[in-house]
Amino acid sequence: MKVRENVVKIGLCSTSLMAVAALFIVVAYVFFNGAGIINLSFLLESPYRFEYGGIFPQIIGSLCLVGICLLFAVPLGVASAIYLVEYAPDNIVTASVRFFIECLAGIPSIVIGLFGLVFLVYRLGLGISMLSGGLTLGFMILPWTVRASEEAIKTVPYSYMEASLALGASKWQSIYGVILKSAYPGIITGILLGMGKAMGETAVVLLTAGSGLESFLPQSILDPVASLPVYIYMLATQGHTEASYSRAFGASLVLITMFLIISMFAMFLRNRYITRNSGF
């Protein structure tokens, strides 16, 4: 019995080590291949063909796209979640809407990108632009923000709602003043996950926002915009030289780092909020 326990323990331990190692290898590979190219001019200059220049427009472009995406998806997602949890009647229609949202989360991004291209870019005439890209990314992460906000709102104890109503607050005052405040850390986590997806998304952006190699900064939201994932895709598929591969890795490293920094900042906000309100 004892032996069996140990075999299981060692077996599980080694598989988890392998999982960690696999992830580590990817990150380490990116790091060693990309770190060499990163310097100030790589970060602050514009690209020139595949092998020259920096990735400044790509960094700014990615940030702008994610910004528009969040501006669109977060208010809409949180509002829908509030409606679904607090107001929607408990019936078949609500259940179907929930199921539908769950299914939407599983649609491949290339399909959403195609929709963005045909509907936003051509039909609505927004063109290949920052706005089209950001909105399409927003469509992509919308189900995720709805789901995450819904879960976060559901975990707020019912006794808070009761206490607030008993003080003569209206339902909306209770939701706004108590429920959302308590759900805030969970909602932030959901937004973060969505943001991570949007930031690394390639297919959608490739179809709706720009070709990735733009060497200029967008002047308006209707201009095409560069982005890191599409830049990486272009260099990896069209470059075919050592220099372009190492640039692709450099850009990847920047992308990962940007995501880490934003995540850490959001975690910091979240934890500060939690400690301030939990009293320990």
Partner: protein, 254 residues
């Protein structure tokens, strides 16, 4: 009873959860600025009853009521009654302390704020006054910006009372407010209730017979959704008229 001013008058009141009748033909006059205790075994309808007094039962879709509950000659359960202003008049403290996960100050200021008080000084004054009235000020004055969840259970419950007082209600409903508290915190809350009845009408649901006997002026004994007996607490405990009341308060069932 005749010499008392009546705050709430309940007439022929019935309540159903779907098909299940939880309150049967309740008639009760609750005197102003007195403590009225509701006692009885679990499931006898006490909590259902007080949750009608501030319409918290509205949150349960299957609830149906019949009969009258008159507060200032207005039927509380009439569909045209403004629930928000009713709940402002009829405050409630729950069984489990449920402060909001924010600071002590924010907890107490929440009510006045939603009712339109914006002036910071005014708010600070209301908070201090309410905490003093809830006998909590001296314990929290140095940590009013700390989280309410860092307080002990008894302090949290008094904070919940302070939060209720801050809205300036006429009536305070307490639903087993001490059931989750230790004896010392319990006696603090009991002292507080006795002090508060100078200005407020207090209705308390309790499973603690001694508590009812100690603090209340009037006691109603509920059983199977009916009021079996209602009288001055002294009389009811000393010389109950009904056999089942006697059995219950002497601990023979319940």
């Amino acid at each position: 009873m005749n010499h008392e001013e009546i705050e709430i008058s309940v007439k022929n009141f019935n309540l159903w959860y779907a098909d299940n009748q939880a309150l049967k033909n309740i008639n009760l006059d609750i005197p102003r600025r007195r403590i009225t205790a509701l006692i009885g075994p679990s499931g006898c309808g006490k909590t259902s009853f007080i949750r009608c007094l501030n319409r918290m039962n509205d949150l349960i879709p299957t609830v149906r009521t019949e009969g009258e509950m008159l507060l200032n000659n207005e039927n509380i359960n009439h569909k045209d009654v403004d629930v928000v202003s009713l709940r402002k008049k009829v405050g409630m403290v729950f069984q489990k302390p449920n402060p909001f996960p924010s600071s002590v100050f924010e907890n107490v200021a929440y009510g006045p704020r939603i009712h339109g008080e914006k002036n910071k000084q005014q708010l600070a004054q209301i908070v201090e006054e309410s905490l003093k009235n809830a006998a909590l000020w001296d314990e929290v004055r140095d940590r009013i910006d700390r989280s309410a969840l860092s307080l002990s259970g008894g302090q949290q419950q008094r904070l919940c009372i302070a939060r209720t007082l801050a809205v300036h209600p006429d009536i305070i409903l307490l639903d087993e407010p001490c059931s989750a508290l230790d004896p010392i915190s319990t006696s603090k809350i009991e002292d507080l209730m006795v002090k508060l009845k100078e200005h407020y009408t207090i209705i308390i649901v309790t499973h603690n017979m001694q508590q009812a006997a100690r603090v209340s002026d009037y006691t109603a004994f509920f059983l199977h959704g009916k009021i079996i007996e209602f009288d001055e607490t002294k009389k009811l405990f000393k010389k109950p008229k009904e056999k089942s009341t006697e059995d219950y308060i002497t601990g023979r069932f319940g």
